[in-house]
Symmetry: C2
Subunit: 765 residues, 2 copies
């Protein structure tokens, strides 16, 4: 067992050392609320309706005062644990539990977000493990935002039986009153037990002590007086006589509402209601989880595919990553990832983005969530990849759903009118294809997937290799669907467009040992001998697009290995820009080794893994993926800082810096969608398609035997795969004990279907 | 001596109890940098050029580690003092010094801002008071902002001999690079001694400990490795062998620059340079301070007039209160206050605002500092008082300067062209006067002095009583200046306008026992029996304007006493609005008792004191002023929370709330300008005018003898006043021993002039 943390028997992360994992966050959420919580009980809460709003300062404290005056915070924050005290934290998909033990008292402090309602629930359980009755003062404090310009008021409300805090949003115009009064301007904290005393502001709870002191309200008691204007906190205090062996329990339901009468608490105040909600929450999650399960020799990959990538995809897709202004390429890929285990649930999120497409086919990339104010300057710029992702993500999702009929569904355009989805996709292709420069590449404009690449095409002439390759890839996904849809013209057009784009790519960008990234407004190519750089995405998508022939693909692979490979996965580009380069623009100002300027960008690493899988090399694809997992053994969490259960965005990529390999710490990455696709469909090779389940494993050499379970069209497929055929052999299938020809199993009517597969060894199909 | 704090012999605030005064802020600044610092050494730093920018997170830590491993922060933050340790803090006009003592070691930690340069200077002095040599680890850490979107890098730079931290501002457009590269994107911390070890980020200094733990870097040493992307801090560590009786000293110069080569440190790195700068800084301040000194039986009033109001006025006027989007009525009044002790220095700030006036006479109230982005929504609205304040503040300042010739100076208009100042003021008067509604009152539009009063006039018809009265007051100030300027037409016009406005006020707003505040768009009056309210400003300005005759003034005074008087001074209005009232608008949403919704708004209390003084009641004016001073004995700082050396904005005014009397905590208030004017000119009655020094004391009954020193036109006037004449007697003056007739002393050629005054007792002229 790792001394600082381990996976427990339930697949939950158990943290023992606050120095390593105290600040690791769990993400708890439903469709209208999102809470992130770390091992100290800290972390922000957000509601989603009527607009995204945080209802706390992300700080919570739980304190016990013993009869002799000794004070203890079982979470170890803000005061470290006293000698002899124990601390551990369990992060599960549906809750986080902090467990402290001192002086024969055990405290459990658990957070969960119920299935419904804008609220978080914190439960405190105090157990007397000793032989003496304990007299305990127990204080819970949730820190709320500081007062806004209009002032705030906090108090215990007897009528509602809860702490209330009101703060009207800052505004200027008289007319703003009506809409703003419909915001969730009231915060509530409803306890299951009426407190003995309370405080409503920092001053009354903390007093004037420094952060390292015991709060005055814990030491001396809470004054039970209303607060005005001060930074608010809802502190509730209980005097508890706890006989030996007894357990005392209280829960707090906190959230934000338009009016206190609407505080969603009644259903959870009944005896046992919170335990019942927790059971229901876990059951609902279990049902989602069971739709796709894998079992491989790598338990880390299993955990991510089965549990944590799914959880991250749910957060990304259903909550739009909690974003206000976001690039819709994210939303599209998130929905595509969601579709891998629940295509029906994912579909509305694809549709929502599609409704932003113009009838000219253009889909703006950076947009702002309806009802919010833009909070990112990129919304004012033109990126070239909206339509490309629209095609890619719909095509993959249609395959996952096995529903060719989705192409017929009528969807609106942003500027009025509507058309079947297939026409949306055709328009996206044509609009993107038409936007080529003299060089034949798709124009760069203000950036492509690489958002901060605002230099090369700013005058409207520069071309993006990546976008050109990605559109070819999109065409290659759309072409077979169009053909099956009996839209021969479109299928032929897709093939022709892809061929032309690939020819252009080869003509303009092939640089002997790599694909260059693009051509700037002055006609100067970059990502080749001109600037001595190599860009990972150009190699990945040169292969995915079909531009690269086998020899070129092998050459690209060798170049990636030579220039970009690190123990933490492939660099996005190398060497990093060391300062302003007017050719590439904003990217060059990012810290060398960070994000787009040469990190190991996990999303991009997943593209590379997809290219490796497309070349048939499951072994290499697996190696790439595992290096960007938080479980990469060459980059332990003790160094990387990354919570082991969430997929992060990037590793710091400056090899000569002591921070090399540090995690960006951010979640919300396209890595999870692509990782899921590559792991399940390209490596394990259990592919959901419009024709049925296609079996094409490319197992790593170290994986002699694996199992995949997928629920598709109401049938649970259990696919047992053994890699025991000689290299190069096609897979041999049997379905429910019957040998079948080929690799495609049509969808079955039964509730369960057993597929047994023998395939080639050593990671190559 | 107050056990928690006291004034020391130098007039500095000395704080002994961190629970009372730990978080009290001092404000240290020069024209290009502003640092606020509390008793823990915390507080934000801002540079002013090229734009307002904070260069820290407002947190600083100083630690000592003893040879036995015991660790101590002498500032008491973030860890409280150990048993037996001492802590005190001295706030002086030019520096703040934190002094800790433990284990026979004394540490002084002092902050100052040099006269020039965007930098703060922290000096650490460690004195071994014991008999043994001490082996000490000494660590200073300045916490810098978290990394922005573009990432940040921090490291020790050997070449420059300083910690450096670079972070390029977030932006989107390629063209943004050039201007943003001219921002102060580099932070530096230059020590006078090269550190033994260092850290550049929180992780390397704090480790993963909670706030209440000793930082890992203090306990275990700093790793001396560069940081990337992490929240930055500049931590410098020294291993010091300190013999008995010895003192060890180091200083840190911190700031923000465009390029590290420009870091303004060289002049302060020489031996003794910082001590010399401190002496020069204090001498410069002393010179400013000496321009106006009073000595009364109330040492609190003396301290504010002589020192702390001046300091606050300097901050307000010279730094524009560190504001980005601000109401220019503030800037005008701040400059007017500055003019009371240094009119020549104040003049450019009045001119800067005047340059924003249109050639139609209109001066928009809410504006944004050049080069900044608006950060307040009120910039989009129309307030009616810009031109009114322009007249009031110029007239008062011209009297202070004794320079009628300022009226001739040519000043530009915002929309081109220019005119003599007197024409600017005439246009302001005419434009304001023309903006009257059917009722004859100045139209309210989106608000007047009372910013959030956006209900009554939102449709363009409602009228503001306050603005009507204030314009009349402005006319009464301009009229004699115009007459002296031999602009008879303007003088007559001023008188006529004032008379007409005052007649209107009486006709429309006199409500028997009070002046109503205004009339809304529907023609409904408010601040009378309709809504059962009384507004302080309507009474104050009803008197100041001359609308009120003696009987009305007495009636208003009685009503204020009956409805608005509290131990903390008069309420702004009563009763407070308890929720949305569409008639008054935004104001009604503010927490009852806060700011414009019924606080004791000190600025408005000062207007009331001015009205009391205008009625000749120095006793009452003094009583009003002292109740809104932080030194109000009926509202001790232990309750109010207000640092005793800065004038705050408001006391919380809800009499039935336990927070009644709490300070808003904010500085930057027009109170200081008006308080200075009232104290020096209306109560002490030593008035600078264009005719000479006018003596018109209205001393409080408890002030038998006072002294005022003013430097005017190069002559220092010492005015000794004894209130020993019978009530109603005119003052009797002698100048340099010669009795003179009348109350006006023409400005003298000598370097010094002694004026002796005998005046009436008991606060009434």
């Amino acid at each position: 067992m790792n001394p600082s943390w381990n996976w427990d028997d339930n697949g939950h992360t158990e943290v023992h050392d606050p120095r390593i994992g105290g600040a690791w966050w769990n993400y708890l959420f439903n469709d209208s609320v999102y809470l992130r919580v770390d091992g100290y009980g800290n972390g922000l809460s957000f509601n989603r309706e009527p607009r995204i709003q945080s209802w706390g300062r992300g700080q919570r404290q739980l304190w016990l005062r013993f009869a002799d005056g000794a004070c203890w915070c079982p979470s170890g924050w803000p005061i470290p644990q006293p000698d002899g005290a124990q601390w551990r934290v369990i992060h599960a998909p549906c809750w986080t539990r902090i467990i402290g033990r001192w002086r024969e008292v055990e405290v459990e402090w658990q957070a969960l977000v119920p299935r419904q309602g804008q609220r978080e629930v914190w439960t405190v359980r105090v157990r007397n493990l000793g032989r003496q009755t304990q007299q305990l003062g127990i204080t819970s404090a949730l820190f709320q935002p500081a007062a806004g310009f209009m002032g705030s008021q906090g108090y215990w409300d007897d009528q509602h039986g809860m702490m209330l805090r009101h703060d009207f949003p800052h505004h200027a115009a008289w007319d703003d009153y009506q809409p703003l009064s419909q915001c969730a301007n009231w915060l509530f904290v409803a306890p299951t037990l009426t407190p003995d005393t309370w405080a409503a502001c920092d001053r009354d709870f903390l007093g004037a002590s420094p952060p390292g002191a015991v709060p005055e309200g814990v030491r001396d008691g809470l004054p039970s007086r209303p607060a005005a204007l001060e930074p608010s906190c809802a502190a509730l205090q209980y005097q508890v006589e706890l006989p030996a062996g007894d357990v005392w329990e209280v829960s707090f339901i906190a959230g934000a509402v338009v009016h206190p009468d609407q505080a969603p608490v009644a259903d959870l105040l009944a005896e046992g209601a919170i335990a019942a909600e927790q059971a229901a929450l876990e059951a609902a999650w279990e049902e989602e989880q069971q739709r796709l399960l894998i079992s491989t020799p790598d338990p880390d990959v299993d955990r991510f595919v089965n549990t944590w990538w799914k959880k991250e995809l749910l957060w990304e897709a259903r909550l739009w990553r909690n974003g206000i202004s976001t690039p819709w390429r994210n939303e599209l890929q998130d929905a595509m990832g969601y579709a891998i285990f629940n295509p029906t649930a994912a579909k509305p999120f694809l549709q929502a983005v599609t409704a932003g497409q113009g009838s000219d086919g253009h889909l703006k990339v950076w947009n702002t969530r309806a009802g919010e104010k833009p909070n990112h300057p990129l919304v004012n710029f033109r990126h070239n990849d909206g339509g490309i992702w629209l095609i890619i993500c719909w095509c993959h999702s249609i395959q996952q759903a096995g529903e060719l009929s989705w192409l017929d569904e009528d969807l609106p355009f942003a500027d009025g009118g509507s058309a079947p989805l297939i026409e949306h996709l055709r328009l996206a292709m044509e609009e993107s294809f038409a936007d080529r420069g003299q060089h034949g590449l798709i124009r760069m404009h203000d950036g492509d997937w690489t958002d901060p690449l605002n230099g090369p095409g700013r005058q409207g002439r520069g071309g993006s290799g990546w976008a050109t390759m990605a559109l070819a890839y999109a065409c290659r996904l759309l072409q077979p669907l169009a053909a099956k849809h009996r839209n021969t013209a479109l299928a032929e057009r897709c093939a022709a467009v892809a061929d032309e784009l690939n020819a252009t790519t080869n003509e303009q960008l092939w640089a002997g040992d790599r694909f260059a990234y693009g051509i700037d407004d002055e006609g100067k190519r970059f990502g080749d001998h001109h600037d001595g750089r190599i860009w990972l995405n150009a190699q990945s998508w040169g292969i995915l697009s079909g531009s690269a022939d086998e020899q070129q693909a092998a050459t690209c692979t060798a170049s990636v290995k030579q220039h970009l490979a690190t123990p933490c996965g492939p660099l996005l580009l190398h060497p990093s820009y060391q300062g302003w380069d007017p050719q590439v623009g904003r990217l060059s100002l990012k810290v060398p080794g960070s994000t787009e300027n040469g990190s190991i960008y996990c999303h991009s690493a997943a593209f590379w893994a997809a290219a490796q899988a497309a070349m048939g090399d499951g072994n290499a694809a697996y190696d790439t993926l595992r290096r960007v997992l938080p479980s990469n053994p060459d980059n332990p969490v003790e160094h990387s800082g990354q919570a082991p259960f969430w997929q992060h965005n990037a590793w710091f990529g400056n090899l000569s810096h002591p921070s090399f390999g540090r995690s960006s710490g951010t979640i919300g990455t396209g890595t999870v969608a692509w990782g899921m696709l590559i792991a399940v469909e390209h490596i394990l090779g259990v592919q959901a398609t419009v024709d049925g389940l296609v079996i094409a494993p490319r197992l790593p050499a170290s994986w002699p035997q694996v199992q995949v379970e997928r629920v598709l069209h109401g049938c649970r497929y259990t696919v047992d795969i053994t890699a025991d055929l000689s290299p190069g052999s096609p897979p041999q299938l049997s379905v429910d004990g019957q040998a079948v020809d080929g690799a495609c199993v049509p969808y079955q009517q039964a509730a369960h279907c057993q597929i047994t597969v023998h395939c080639a060894q050593a990671g190559r199909a």
